[in-house]
Symmetry: C2
Subunit: 222 residues, 2 copies
Amino acid sequence: MAEKEPAPRFQTKSAYAASVLRRALAEGRYAAGERLMATQLARDLGFSMTPVREALMQLANDGLLEIAPHRGVRVADIADDDLVDTYVVRAIVESAAARLAAARIRPEEIAQLRRVHRQFVDAASARDPDVARLRELNEEFHFIIYAAAGSPLLRRMIRTAWTSSPRDTFGVLPLKTARDDHGALIEALETRDGDRAEDVMREHIEESAKLLRLFKKSKRKH
Amino acid sequence: MAEKEPAPRFQTKSAYAASVLRRALAEGRYAAGERLMATQLARDLGFSMTPVREALMQLANDGLLEIAPHRGVRVADIADDDLVDTYVVRAIVESAAARLAAARIRPEEIAQLRRVHRQFVDAASARDPDVARLRELNEEFHFIIYAAAGSPLLRRMIRTAWTSSPRDTFGVLPLKTARDDHGALIEALETRDGDRAEDVMREHIEESAKLLRLFKKSKRKH
DNA sequence: AGGTTATTTTTTGTAAAAAATTTAAAATGG
DNA sequence: CCATTTTAAATTTTTTACAAAAAATAACCT
């Protein structure tokens, strides 16, 4: 462990601990199925058990950890199959959200979408693209749509899907494709074409899944 | 408060506290937006803060409560609109799960489905039907299908949708309709007819939503 | 070896201190 | 004098440190 992060800007130690753990998981620092001991983590972070415990519960809620009563917490075993599964589910819920959004989206949300899209395009066309920023903009873009769908529950589910994958998979889709898809999405939403919005979103995600599968396969051969 | 429940059969106090709170919410004992004080709840239950706190986190994760850092926890304001929303979302995810299940379900799962269905039919045709048992059987039936869909994430989402409604709404659908729908579902799954399974499931849920809307409307007039 | 009883380790729960927020009261300035 | 800001008090949440309970591990004894 031994994070040297400044540790401020977090409102609670639980939140900070959760963020540290989430990052550690994303970086694959723990093996699948590995047992995490709250007492140990607390010692590493210099906190007492309670905030660490709460952080563990949060991540367990996200499906990143599994916690058995009196028996401790283990890193969830998310196989490659499950990663593909994530995309299957995302295609289902996010395309449905896009369809709903087409019916309900308001002009100011369209404007917001355009603004973020423009920033994305600018950032993507830079000489040395800032991947972290692109990821943020991409997320913002998507969630403007999901908020516009007007279903808090569906939005929450999509958030679950986005956080349920420990490994960061942004960037499998070529920037150009992402850009074009986002443009098509805006157009479909603006013309209130629910069918098209749904289709574009589904293909946008399935394309990512396909590329990810290829990527995984090529890595497995090695 | 002052639950007189024996309190056993729970592995941890957190779990017990969560169960008590969940029931209290289901019974509408707290107003929407009302503030819940952990210290107060702890006193009422005779527990210390930690288990109560953990219970609150669980329910917040289910969307039943909203918790703001350093500012306490409030009962989520789930309006009637949101209840309808629940059904919209359920129709989306559960019909998708039914389609997936049709492609992957195994013979023993079909057999299991038939077994539960038979129990449901028996219980439903009793002189004085046991509603609690029917609810359990209904849930079991549905989740056999969602498990058969082979997507842990989708299954988890559906579980979220089922627990995200504080008020219990089982029973709006006439027993006869439920029975017929379940029969049609088994048939569609057995013949691997994904389209049909999806349609039946969607209509099964949308029918509930429609009746619930009528029910709500009639109650509002009064 | 097999099984039972200690020992140790880890999780869970308690009580109270610390930090933050809200509420109330006092002070300040127009 | 009233409104606004400051200061202080009281709640409430968050964290700590430690005790109790449960499970895992080691030791022991036929």
